[in-house]
């Protein structure tokens, strides 16, 4: 599997993401935001966490309009896989690849701790190695992770089995406890929790490992 990790000024989980993908067996290239094209033959684009462009205007708004994001949108529209974590999720909503928006946490505080997640669907390359309904622990670290979408969108996401993860104890006010959602073709995943920070024994928690392993299995056999 060939993966590209996008790097913006202010990204801070780019290396963690690249290491998690590499250790899962992917051939990883880090791509600068000013590049207008992705490396050829890329299967997966990973948009890492951080505070791209200092969260100016809105989280992810400036990054979503950078040259590389046009290539990421084309990649997704052509059926490519895109994983956005934390700021990456915010960027994906700003590009319109995923519906909704991430608002300021309801409690106004920046939250950095490990939370419980329920796997809502195993029907995606990202979640197929978990069982639906099972629970895992993954860290969150965000100020703006409060998922918002209108009632019709929430109903559509739920009805189409596109909610990938929910919080077992909602930390930020997200509607329907949503922690991660899939695109209609189930190949674009945006999630606020950081699976790349629950990957190695040294992290004290390896619950995120299976997300990468499942992705690897799916994209290598494809």
């Amino acid at each position: 599997m060939r993966a590209a990790v996008i790097q913006f000024p202010g990204s801070n989980c780019d290396r963690d993401m690249a290491v998690a993908l590499e250790k899962s067996g992917a051939d990883v290239q880090v791509v600068w935001h000013k590049d207008a094209a992705l490396p050829s033959g890329v299967d997966l684009v990973a948009i890492p966490g951080g505070f791209s462009f200092g969260d100016y205007l809105r989280c992810g708004a400036i990054a979503a309009n950078s040259p590389i994001c046009r290539a990421v949108v084309d990649h997704a529209n052509a059926g490519g896989y895109v994983l956005g974590v934390c700021n990456g999720f915010q960027i994906l909503t700003e590009t319109g690849l995923l519906p909704g928006a991430l608002l300021r946490n309801a409690g106004l505080k920046y939250i950095c701790r490990t939370v419980g997640l329920k796997i809502e669907t195993a029907n995606s390359a990202y979640t197929e190695s978990y069982s639906a309904g099972s629970e895992i622990s993954v860290p969150i670290a965000h100020h703006d992770g409060n998922y918002f979408a209108d009632d019709a969108t929430i109903a559509r996401l739920t009805g189409d089995d596109r909610v990938a993860f929910t919080y077992t104890d909602n930390p930020n006010g997200s509607r329907a406890n949503i922690a991660g959602i899939l695109s209609q073709n189930r190949r674009v995943l945006g999630m606020m929790p950081h699976p790349e920070r629950a990957f190695e024994d040294a992290h004290g928690n390896t619950d995120g490992q299976r997300l990468f392993a499942g992705l690897m299995a799916q994209l290598t056999s494809a």
């Binding site: 205007l57 909503t93 909704g100 608002l103 300021r104 309801a106 409690g107 409060n146 918002f148």
Partner: protein, 76 residues
């Protein structure tokens, strides 16, 4: 010419910052503040002849997120 763009969260979208400001005003003894909504004001210095429609396009493409925000344009 200049334009001033007001960006506000839409009605029905929770504004936790506005709620915190409302709470703080109450704590300062200001009674009767029934609600606070916090938004942002963006001033644009524009080439003469820029139309309101063009500024509207700027709002919809970047300055506001139409999923959660609405905007108002004042041409100055």
């Amino acid at each position: 010419m200049k334009a001033r763009v007001h960006v506000m969260l839409k009605e029905g979208v929770l504004d936790p910052q506005g709620a915190a400001v409302q709470h703080a005003l109450g704590a300062l003894g200001f009674a009767g503040v029934n609600g606070v909504r916090q938004g942002k004001v963006i001033e644009l210095d524009l080439a003469d002849g820029t139309t309101e429609a063009e500024v509207g396009e700027m709002c919809e493409k970047l300055l506001a997120n139409m999923v959660i925000e609405s905007y108002r344009i004042d041409l100055l």
